[in-house]
């Protein structure tokens, strides 16, 4: 259960470059929610994720995870229970290191001591996990991650992130940098992992079709605010046209439909 209460983020406060990125957002995320987030560029989607993950501190407001106030907790501490995947497939793994070494680091979150954890039994469990990806990576444990394709690398990141069963999974356009075929593979894997492990997840996407197809709840953001929050039956009945109309109705201006819909 994640709770944002009256969270705002202002960049360069008090200067001529002042920019209100997040404007007084209150949001309650229930356990098991799979929320898709859409909105044009600069709407504040990534900033919202940065605030939840702890990369930024909010200017105002509080963030609670499972009843605990984590507003001032550092990013690496929150990483223990909030998993995050970025758009750039290079950010989730260490390219110069092997698949098994990367997986070892993801196995246990937090401080790493002086024991040698990379044992045969650990390798065996990595193989069992990698089979789920169906990419034959289980035979390539000793390959450097930089040898993998973007899709394989992002899938590995996904596997490593869900390995520790985080309380919240943040997906920041994690398929946007992949070609359509690989994007579909990673997206389907995501949906499967979320379902199988009963994860709570938020996914930013620029593809309205995906936003409608996946998840049980949809947020539309604009100018730092959540302007639409639909879930349940209402979400199931959504279409792309309905979403565009909705935006028009709410904001009384043209939705940047070409930019939002065409960017995959």
């Amino acid at each position: 259960m994640i709770e944002l209460s009256n969270v705002s983020k202002v960049f360069n406060e008090g200067t001529v470059n002042e920019n209100l990125a997040i404007n007084d957002i209150s949001l309650s995320i229930k356990e098991g929610d799979f929320i898709t987030v859409i909105g044009s560029n600069g709407a504040g989607k990534s900033t919202l994720f940065n605030l939840i993950a702890g990369s930024y501190e909010p200017s105002r407001g509080r963030i609670l995870v499972n009843g605990k106030d984590v507003t001032r907790e550092s990013e690496h501490r929150r990483a223990g229970y909030i998993g995050r995947i970025f758009q750039n497939p290079l950010l989730g793994t260490a390219g110069k290191m092997t698949i098994e070494e990367n997986m070892l680091l993801a196995m246990k979150k937090g401080f790493k001591g002086l024991k040698i954890g990379l044992s045969d039994s650990a390798r065996e469990s990595f193989r069992r996990e990698l089979v789920h990806l169906d990419m034959k990576l289980e035979d390539r444990l000793k390959d450097k991650v930089s040898l993998l394709s973007g899709g394989q690398r992002q899938s590995l990141t996904l596997l490593m992130t869900v390995y520790s069963r985080p309380s919240l999974l943040l997906l920041d356009e994690h398929t946007a940098a992949l070609d359509p075929k690989n994007a579909a593979i990673v997206l389907n894997l995501t949906a499967r992992f979320v379902k199988e492990h009963g994860l709570t997840a938020m996914m930013i996407t620029h593809n309205m079709g995906h936003a409608i197809e996946f998840g049980n709840r949809l947020l539309m953001m604009d100018k730092g605010e959540v302007i639409l929050d639909v879930s349940g039956e209402e979400k199931k009945s959504l279409t792309v046209q309905k979403l565009v109309d909705k935006f028009h109705e709410l904001r009384n201006e043209e939705f940047e439909s070409d930019r939002v819909m065409l960017s995959e």
Partner: protein
């Protein structure tokens, strides 16, 4: 005289291993080492003159180096100062501290004192010539440190440190505090450099305030020479690169000093030569990468 090259090479190899950790593993160009090498020598001299156990003196030199590295790392991560500047700051401060440690003098003589090197010479000297006895001691010392580092980089913490130099965000995502990891790595590196300085002072028979000058460049040149000789890139191969690179570097400098006069070089030109070697190696690496890129395209 030739064994002298190997002895010096092995002593400096500890420093090269330290530079390797910061430059190649952590991707943190740490200039503190110019100060910590001298610090190690000064601390060793301080304790040896006061008749401390020689191994205790070596351990304290290591600890002193770790502390200096921790200061650099703290300046870098806490105050968000660029790594280069943080290193220069600590290095500059160490200059004054080193002179204080040496009792407000610019050098301390260790001649006529028992040192780890001379003890090793006496110990093994019963069976073989003293020069070779010293060599055996420093070779063992360098190999032990090499293997300890190899093992360290297989531990969970060592793997995290390698990941940190590769991709800091990934380390944060695994719930590790990157500042702490950097601190541990830079401290360890400077500890090795100080230990190297301590042994160097014992070998040459004195600690001098300028003995660390240009150490960072020597370390970097050695690392790069080693990488040219051995092409494997596993941790075990890379630490071996550091060892061999250090010895080859000392060899090149020895011949520069001995025969350089034939092409009108003086000992003061050696720093210029070191710099030129680095530039040539940088060009060679670039050419390698270019060749690889072309090969991939085909």
């Amino acid at each position: 005289m030739l064994e002298g090259i190997f002895v010096e090479g092995c002593i400096y190899a500890l420093m090269v291993l330290g530079v390797f950790i910061t430059f190649r593993i952590l991707d943190f160009p740490d200039l503190t080492v110019d100060g910590t090498f001298t610090l190690g020598g000064a601390l060793a001299a301080f304790f040896i003159v006061r008749d401390y156990n020689l191994w205790v003196a070596l351990g304290l030199s290591f600890a002193g180096g770790c502390l200096a590295g921790a200061v650099t790392s703290a300046i870098h991560t806490r105050l968000k100062v660029p790594g280069l500047l943080a290193g220069i700051l600590t290095m500059t401060m160490l200059y004054s501290i080193n002179i204080r440690i040496m009792g407000n003098r610019s050098n301390v003589s260790l001649l006529n004192r028992d040192t780890l090197i001379s003890d090793a010479g006496h110990f093994f000297g019963k069976y073989i010539p003293e020069g070779y006895a010293e060599l055996i001691f420093v070779v063992i010392a360098a190999l032990v440190m090499k293997f300890l580092i190899d093992i360290f980089f297989r531990t969970d913490m060592g793997l995290t440190m390698r990941a940190l130099g590769d991709n800091e965000q990934m380390v944060v995502s695994q719930g590790v505090n990157p500042s702490m990891m950097k601190l541990a790595g830079v401290a360890m590196s400077n500890g090795l450099v100080a230990m190297s300085g301590a042994l160097a002072a014992q070998y040459q028979g004195f600690a001098d305030v300028n003995m660390g000058q240009g150490i960072i460049i020597i370390g970097l040149a050695s690392v790069m020479i080693g990488e040219q000789i051995i092409r494997k890139r596993s941790i075990m191969a890379l630490t071996l690169c550091a060892l061999i690179g250090s010895i080859v570097y000392k060899g090149i400098m020895f011949f520069g000093r001995s025969y350089g006069y034939m092409i009108y070089l003086t000992p003061t030109d050696l720093k210029l030569i070191t710099g030129v070697i680095i530039v040539i190696l940088l060009i060679a690496t670039k050419a390698d990468m270019l060749k690889k890129a072309v090969g991939l395209r085909r």
